[in-house]
């Protein structure tokens, strides 16, 4: 593993670490809002991964310069970073906010129904309901 390889791949590894922190929050934390925040961290890390794939060393932002007559001037010696990942991630950010808002609405609804947004308390409430239903069914059969 050469020095050049490590330096060239370090970015990807850094974003993977960040992604894993987000995943840890989603798995280990019981609070639903915190899970959504963890999901956001995960998502932003994936975005960074994509953007770093599109980066070109020595390149600049993909915006063409205008000359003074209002025509786009070709900078032949200019290297631009890859605009395609930027477009995809632009779309993904907006979709991410839409899905986040849907998740938050679900949290509000869950809180209204169960009175809590902690995962284990919701599970306890569900178990109680299931037990009661079983008892009712047995009473009906008997």
């Amino acid at each position: 593993m050469s020095w050049e390889f490590i330096l060239g791949h370090m970015n990807y590894w850094l974003f993977i670490i960040l992604m894993l922190i987000g995943l840890y929050i989603v798995i280990a934390k019981g609070n639903l809002l915190k899970k959504i925040v963890g999901l956001n961290i995960f998502q932003v890390s994936v975005f960074m991964m994509y953007i770093s794939i599109g980066k070109v060393i020595g390149g600049t932002a993909p915006i063409l310069p205008y000359d003074n007559t209002g025509h786009v001037e070709y900078g032949l010696d200019v290297i631009y970073s890859n605009p395609l990942p930027h477009v995809l991630i632009l779309t993904a950010i907006v979709v991410g906010v839409a899905t986040t808002s849907l998740g938050l609405a679900l949290i509000v609804r869950i809180r209204e129904e169960y009175g809590t947004i902690e995962e284990d308390e919701i599970l306890d409430a569900e178990t109680l309901i299931a037990e009661k239903e079983n008892e009712d069914r047995e009473a009906w059969l008997a």
């Binding site: 970015n11 809002l33 070109v56 839409a98 809180r111």
Partner: protein, 184 residues
């Protein structure tokens, strides 16, 4: 070299923010830190030449998401129940996934390689032809609205669906609350 240094500094700040989010029990602080996280990632996007993504992330990611989350904690709860400090199973899972992902990056081209597959095929066509095809100086705008207009149409469909979903979930929230109060 300077870009790598800035990258690493910003990355360390992002990790510190994420770890603080893990430890915090006050949900208000968690939401604010997630806003901080979005702003820091916007800076990182600027370093990587993605200016459009950076300002979208700063406006939408740090702005709207934070407001929505503040609304949610106002409607639900302000603090989190204390959870056990260290759990073995999640750590094991993320270590396994992390090793698999890092193994997967071994075949990837170097960071910033001009001749990597992602930078050569259709992207090279966009970079050289978008000025004559579309005539918008900002290539990202040109691709978003013209070359890949259907993607954006799909995005609009997703946002619309999510909006309808939120409306359906939250409709009647105020009415049900009022009825509950009257019952009491």
């Amino acid at each position: 070299m300077i870009e790598t240094t800035i990258n690493i500094i910003l990355f360390v700040m992002l990790v510190v923010t994420a770890l603080a989010i893990i430890r915090m029990d006050k949900l208000f602080a968690v939401v604010m830190l997630s806003g901080v996280f979005s702003f820091l990632s916007a800076l990182l996007f600027i370093v990587m030449d993605a200016v459009d993504v950076a300002f979208t992330e700063a406006a939408v990611g740090a702005g709207i998401t934070t407001v929505l989350m503040l609304g949610t904690i106002a409607l639900t709860a302000r603090t989190q129940k204390k959870s056990p400090k260290f759990q073995l199973m999640p750590v094991l899972i993320i270590i396994i996934i992390g090793v698999a992902l890092i193994y997967g990056t071994m075949d990837m081209p170097n960071f910033g390689d001009l001749n990597s597959p992602a930078n050569t095929h259709v992207a090279a066509y966009y970079v050289s032809n978008s000025a004559t095809d579309i005539g918008v100086p900002n290539m990202v705008t040109g691709i978003l609205a013209s070359y890949r207009g259907f993607d954006t149409l799909g995005e609009v469909a997703v946002v619309f669906t999510a909006g309808v979903g939120v409306l359906v979930l939250l409709s009647g929230l105020a009415r049900r609350r009022r009825e509950d109060k009257e019952e009491l």
